[in-house]
Subunit: 335 residues, 2 copies
């Protein structure tokens, strides 16, 4: 049975969605859960659920990393945090993966240093899944584990992203694109032009440069970029979606007729919000660490936590890291 350590103290509303999501996941997916956090708090929350026969255990951790904590400081000073303890459970093979909806920077730092990176990997990468216009999912990486990447790092991101995509979204040969400012090979900056020539020779199914709009077009499955660009892209998406919904809400309240219209359209808006809500897609995996680490949004609800556990268990079951090592060594031989 796959075992996942769940950081019960991480998200904005912890431990409620973490515990409920864990109960749902244990029930629906047959996954064993180690709920990591302050014992009394987690136990009280777990008691609210009728879950006596589910494979859920509490593992104590005295410290809590908040969203305001500085990642490097939290790593050094809060050594008994729920994130640290979760990562140690993975390192000691007591869990196959960890899930946290906590401070993304802190989770990345703790996972990187306590788990270490895979042998063939120079830099880890955070991958963010997006719903696309064709009803599928496209994945952007790196969305912020690094700044100032070199060409070989982006090639590694492409390979790791492809293996993750295959394991999670069931495509046999995902299309991999390079985020740039035009489709032709000569378009882009110094970094992407070099990465283009390397990806052409790599084993991934490289479809060439893609542009910003292709995050949502569904024409490509895995989109590679450096972490600086990817993080800005991710934050723009969140910001613009909030802005459009805010404006829509205000517009809809602007007249009585619109208000009635809005009431009648409520189901449609809910459906839309669900489609573009990326917490539905199982969180963002940190690729390249030894073990499985999936990071959820701080606003994760129980459903998002459940889906993140599903993704983490799936990556462990698919032996993603072994495949990443294999593909990267094969690429190194080719280079």
């Amino acid at each position: 049975m796959i075992t996942i350590a769940v950081d019960a103290m991480g998200g904005d509303h912890a431990p409620r969605p973490e515990v409920e999501g864990s109960v749902l996941a244990a029930r629906e997916f047959g996954v064993r859960i180690l709920l990591v956090g302050q014992q009394n708090v987690v136990r009280a929350e777990l008691a609210k659920h009728a879950a006596p026969n589910l494979p859920i255990e509490i593992v104590p951790a005295s410290d809590v990393i908040s969203m305001q904590d500085h990642p490097a400081q939290a790593f050094r000073r809060k050594k008994d945090s729920s994130v640290h303890v979760s990562a140690r459970l993975v390192r000691e093979a007591k869990a196959d993966g960890l899930v946290s909806a906590g401070n993304t920077g802190a989770v990345m730092t703790v996972a990187k240093f306590l788990l270490g990176t895979l042998e063939s990997v120079d830099r880890v990468a955070l991958a963010a899944p997006f719903p696309n216009a064709k009803g599928g999912v496209s994945v952007l990486l790196d969305v912020g584990a690094n700044v100032d990447s070199r060409p070989e790092h982006l090639v590694q991101f492409a390979i790791m992203g492809e293996v993750y995509y295959r394991a999670t979204f069931g495509s046999k040969r995902p299309r991999v694109g390079l985020l740039s400012v035009g489709e032709e090979e000569i378009k882009g900056n110094e970094l992407t032009r070099e990465v283009y020539t390397r990806l052409k020779k790599s084993p991934v199914h490289f479809v060439g440069n893609v542009e910003g709009g292709d995050l949502f077009s569904g024409n490509v499955d895995v989109i590679v970029c450096d972490g600086f660009v990817g993080n800005i892209a991710l934050k723009i998406c969140e910001g613009l979606a909030l802005q459009i919904f805010g404006l829509l809400g205000r517009s809809l309240k602007s007249s009585l007729v619109s208000q009635v219209g809005a009431m009648l359209s409520k189901g449609a808006f809910k459906g839309l919000k669900k489609t573009i809500d990326y917490t539905e897609y199982g969180g963002a995996p940190l690729l390249g660490v030894r073990g499985v680490c999936v990071i959820g949004h701080g606003r994760s609800n129980a459903n998002a936590v459940k889906n993140a556990i599903r993704v983490a268990a799936g990556l462990a079951r698919a032996r993603m890291n072994e495949k990443i090592e294999q593909e990267l060594s094969a690429t190194a031989v080719l280079a």
Copy 2:
């Protein structure tokens, strides 16, 4: 009287919106218009409008640059294009500025080479205005005139963006931010960290690093980034807006109740589309060229063309380029 050369052949629906927008601008803003394009085509379109006493003249240009043309090739081969002729009118001081809704890359190339750059400017920059959550406008630059910029270029973008913002949106001391991956000074890549220290010492009202979501937050007026990042950001915004409206449309058609709701909410949706439609904001000025050059979206309607003419005339009237030269020389002395 300010004179603006309007590329009548540029946009997706040219020359209809170009001619109508010119008639509206001549009528509303008291601007003299030189409509540049194939004489018969433009004359026939102009004849549809009752505009006998308006200061509109046709200037012939035999070539047309299409959206599919390669910018550098179009520049070299179509020397009598409406874009070339418009730029020459500005160079020869027969017009104070030019407006085109044509092939952005080609317009940038032609303007850069035929007009040249200001003496203190190393690199021109394309600036894109966005509506923000506070009901104002935020401007992002560079959105694609360059790739691989150096720190001094981004400092110049900041100063040019600030002067353009003051001239166009009436703010006396626009807040200038640097697009990065976190607010602290140490956050960012090699380029932005260096730019941060330089902007702190510059005469602009520098508010520090901003993140992707700040394109829409209204917390900052001018957002500086390199052209690679800016172009990706712009395309993401267009792509995501299309995606959300597409999904919303499909959701609203999914049931009879939603359909009725959608009908009643129609006014609200229109209002929203108008708010986020950046063609309302007068197009994107190419900053740093000798003269004024404003580039509209290919899909520009008459209203967008009219607004682009308003912005171009405003920049000429405000003597933007003189102010840019002054501020840049002052900064050079400080450095």
